[in-house]
Subunit: 165 residues, 2 copies
Amino acid sequence: EDLLITGVTSKMDEAKITICGVPDTPGIAAKIFKALAEEDINVNMIVQSASRKGINDISFTISQSDIKDANNILQNLMKDVKAKDLNFDKNIGVVSIVGMGMASHPGIAQKMFETLGKHGVNIQMISTSEIKISCVIERSKVKMAMQKLHQSFGLDKVGKKILKG
Amino acid sequence: EDLLITGVTSKMDEAKITICGVPDTPGIAAKIFKALAEEDINVNMIVQSASRKGINDISFTISQSDIKDANNILQNLMKDVKAKDLNFDKNIGVVSIVGMGMASHPGIAQKMFETLGKHGVNIQMISTSEIKISCVIERSKVKMAMQKLHQSFGLDKVGKKILKG
Ligand SMILES: C[C@@H](O)[C@H](N)C(=O)O
Ligand SMILES: C[C@@H](O)[C@H](N)C(=O)O
C-alpha cells in the first residue's frame, strides 16, 4: 500500500487519565468505560499495553471540560475495579502524524519518535493505526514539536508528501 | 459526526511484544523503533499507556514470521534502553471493530469491552482511533469473540449498521 502523509495535527483541549493497578481480568475495561459512557463522557484515545503479573494500567484521554465529572465517576469506581491509583493530567497535548498506509511503513513511527526524542520531548502515551500515529506530550512542548515534525516530514514545503512503498 | 460500524475484523498472524521497565525519558521509544525499522520489521499497533514513577512499558504487535529477528534485535537493545524485561506472546489474535466516527460515540468501546468481558475474554491490549477499536486477546477465543461481537453490533444481520449521532 502506498504511504501518504497528509499532515501533523495537535489537540490541546484533552486531559490524560490513567487508572493504575487494576486486575487484568475480564470485565474490568467494560466496567470503566460503561461508567464513563453512561455519563456521556467522550473518551478519545484508549491505550492499554500488556500487563505485568496480572495487573494492568489503562490510560485514555477526555476533553478537559469533562475532568470534574470523570473524576467523580472514577473515584466511585475505584473500589469496584480494585484500582490502586487514579491519575489526571491536564498539562498535555496530543500530536499526531496523519496519513494513510502508515502501518505498513516501519519508518514513520520511528521518525516521529526520533524527532520528538532528539528535541527532548518525552512521549507519555503512544497509540498507532494505519491512518494516525498519536503521541501524548507535555503541553508546553506542543508548538515546538509541531514545527519539528513538520520539518522532518517535509510538510513545511508545499503540498503533501507521497512516498511509494 | 455520524457513526458507522462497517465490520469486525481479526488478525491471527500477529505476535505481541512488550518491552518492560524502560526509563520514561526522551529518546527511548525512538531507539527501539529505529532498531526494528532498520531491519524492516513491520510494527503494527504500538501502545504505551502513561508511566508509573518514571518507568514505562511499551507493547506492540509484529507479524509472527518476524519474531526471531525481532527477538535478536531487542535482546541486543535491552541493555542500551535499560529494559527490565522483554516478553513475547504468539498466542494472540487482534479483534477490531471497524467503522467511522467512533471517537465521538462513547458507547462503542464500552460495548466491545462488555461483549468480550461477559464471555470471559480477557483484553490484553487496547488501541483506539476514530476508525478502529482493537483489542488483543487470547488466540483460542478469537472465533467465539468474533461471533459475539457480530451479534452485539447487529452485524450478523444484512448490511451495515448506521447510527445517527
Ligand atoms: C485490564 C482490563 O483491560 C482487563 N484485562 C479486561 O479485560 O477488562
Ligand atoms: C517510554 C518512552 O516512550 C519514552 N517516554 C520516550 O519518549 O521515548
